[in-house]
């Protein structure tokens, strides 16, 4: 599904990614871990096509298609979803209205007509029930006055609504207490299928107890320095990132 080849990227003249290679297949969950400043969030932004990051070398290929010239919204239409670490507020725009717009824009890109209102309502009901979201929540302004947990749940709700092929969860666990974490993780697990792939970006092993990955990669200084199975996360937790840093130096 996703193939990242020798990816180099910089922001404001500073090299952040220095040769990332990663292959993610449908049905897989990959965890990307690493210390602060290792380039985890940059990788997420580059895959999503954020303009301020300049790709200087290498490529991101989704289902055989190089994404180099694709605008962020085109990438979204092709099935890329990013759950933001810090979701932004859009005052006066309800969650429902935002989702309706997003879904219909993606349909338009595929040459489809707007989703009929009753179908939209059905979809909203189904997904909000699945994620145990109170429907009153959906009429509130997007992320405005949301708690940390609500913001992250809202991201996962959007993921459920948009049914992406590739979902990248950027630090979805940050700012969540254990209950909120469990709810969000359960939601993600319900969305796992053989047809989609998920990349979980996290600093801590905690989230991976709930969303169990097939592969774990450790990012350090803009490169993947170690890959392994889910047990790698535990090893990391135990030995700390210094272990990786030291190993990288060796």
């Amino acid at each position: 599904m996703l193939k990242i080849n020798e990816l180099h990227a910089r922001v404001e003249e500073k090299d952040i990614l220095k040769g990332i290679n990663l292959e993610v297949n449908a049905g897989e969950v990959h965890a990307i871990m690493g210390p602060n400043g290792s380039g985890k969030s940059t990788l997420a932004s580059v895959i999503a096509g954020k303009e301020e990051f300049e790709v200087t070398k290498g490529s991101v290929v989704l289902n055989g298609e190089d994404l180099e010239d694709a605008a962020p919204e085109e990438r979204a239409h092709k099935g890329v979803f990013l759950s933001f670490q810090y979701p932004v507020e859009i005052p006066g725009v309800s969650v429902t209205n935002f989702m309706k717009t997003a879904i219909n824009e993606s349909r338009k890109a595929r040459g489809l007509k707007d989703m009929p209102a009753n179908e939209m309502l059905k979809l909203i009901r189904e997904k909000s029930e699945m994620l145990e979201i109170d429907r009153r929540f959906l009429s509130r302004s997007l992320n405005e006055g949301f708690s940390g947990g609500e913001k992250k749940r809202n991201e996962i709700f959007q993921m459920a609504m948009l049914e992406p092929k590739l979902a990248i969860l950027d630090e979805t666990d940050s700012g969540l207490d254990i209950d909120a974490l469990r709810i969000v993780a359960n939601g993600v697990n319900k969305l796992r299928s053989k047809d989609n792939a998920i990349i979980v970006i996290t600093h801590y092993q905690r989230l991976l107890e709930y969303i169990v990955p097939d592969f774990v990669h450790v990012l350090h200084n803009g490169k993947i320095v170690k890959s392994g199975g889910k047990e790698l996360a535990l090893e990391l937790e135990e030995k700390g990132y210094d272990w990786i840093k030291n190993e990288a130096v060796v």
Partner: protein, 481 residues
Amino acid sequence: MAYTEEELKKELETKEYEYGFYTDIESDTFPVGLNEDIVVAISKKKSEPKWMTDWRLEAFRHWQAMEEPEWANVTYAKPDFQAISYYSAPNSKPKYESLDEVDPELLDTFKKLGISLDEQKKLAGVAVDIVMDSVSVATTFKKTLAEKGIIFCSISEAIKEHPELVKKYIGSVVPQKDNFYAALNSAVFSDGSFCYIPKGVRCPMELSTYFRINQAGTGQFERTLVIADEGSYVSYLEGCTAPSRDENQLHAAVVELIALDDAEIKYSTVQNWFPGDKEGKGGVFNFVTKRGICEKNAKISWTQVETGSAVTWKYPSCILKGDNAIGEFYSIAVTNNYQQADTGTKMVHLGKNTRSTIISKGISAGKSQNSYRGLVQVNSRAENARNFSQCDSLLMGNACGAHTFPYIEVKNKTAQIEHEATTSKIGEDQIFYCNQRGIDTEKAIALIVNGFSKEVLNKLPMEFAVEAQKLLEISLEGSVG
């Protein structure tokens, strides 16, 4: 590709006027220039009674002694009032029994505007008194209204048919010498709408007028008079679009609202006069005086969506004369390219327990300047007066300006006045968030702007709100795709 702020700004600036077309209809136009003879000729042309002619002449004499105001935060080349023709009426003047009799080209124009009368008739009971180049050419739903004793007609017709009402109320809220433009309007007003709701009657439909300027070089001087008698209710909609034109067109309307005891008037405007092109060339000068008076327990609510005009000078106001009167002002003003808007309201509290609410949303893009100017005045006798004002500004790019000029004059210490103001900018992170969900930049801006304006959009009648939302998008979207 995603957008940098620089590109975004460029796009916003390249937006061209959507309704830029011009219908070629033979018109009966006066020679340019203004003097007493012209004023008399206008009055004669409309077969007005002598008292009306005299009233116009009195206004003209005041006007001659007045100076164009310069205090607004706008700059423009002052119009040459002697280079304007003060009367223009479509030639095929007789009133029509049915739409079939209306000039097909005119109907076509309405269709382009998306306000075909056919549709209007079918739509949620909207009676339309269409003012096209100053003379009403079609009026619908008159019968239904007449059954309730409601009078809804052109002001010229009202002068002839209901002189006692016109004589009593015209100039009672906006006197002839109120200001330079009001005086000019009083002297030369061509036509406009008149509405009277009898005691205790609730008008069963939204009354609606569409204004357009269509004749090159013709100033448009509309006069609207709405009288809601005791305990009555009316919702009045006014919407305008104008064709693309190179020269500046002057628009100086006067709207007077009278809400007698326990009456309520809701006056909604969607204004989309030609704003000028992206270099700031052309565009309508919109110098409007709108004011309402509230007697005891009466309520007047102004809602406006202002997206057009090169220069806007407009302050729909309320004089809260009676005890317990309520005044409201809800406004969205959008400026783009080189547009300039200086708009706001005046709430004059005279009666006891009078209340007013002001919600103003200013959106500036391109190189435009958007000013809110508001006055809250509490008279010494106005015990327990209350006002709440909220002025929010949204900026796009770095070349535009948002200004707030709130004036508060309180002469009674029991008054409670609250004023809140915010200024924000559409952030690149907001745009990227939308992009990531599959929403392109153009649509994202529309979404954010609509969200920002929601409190005011919600105050508009349903069918108008949809139109207004579209207008906001048209006014701010770039030429993407």
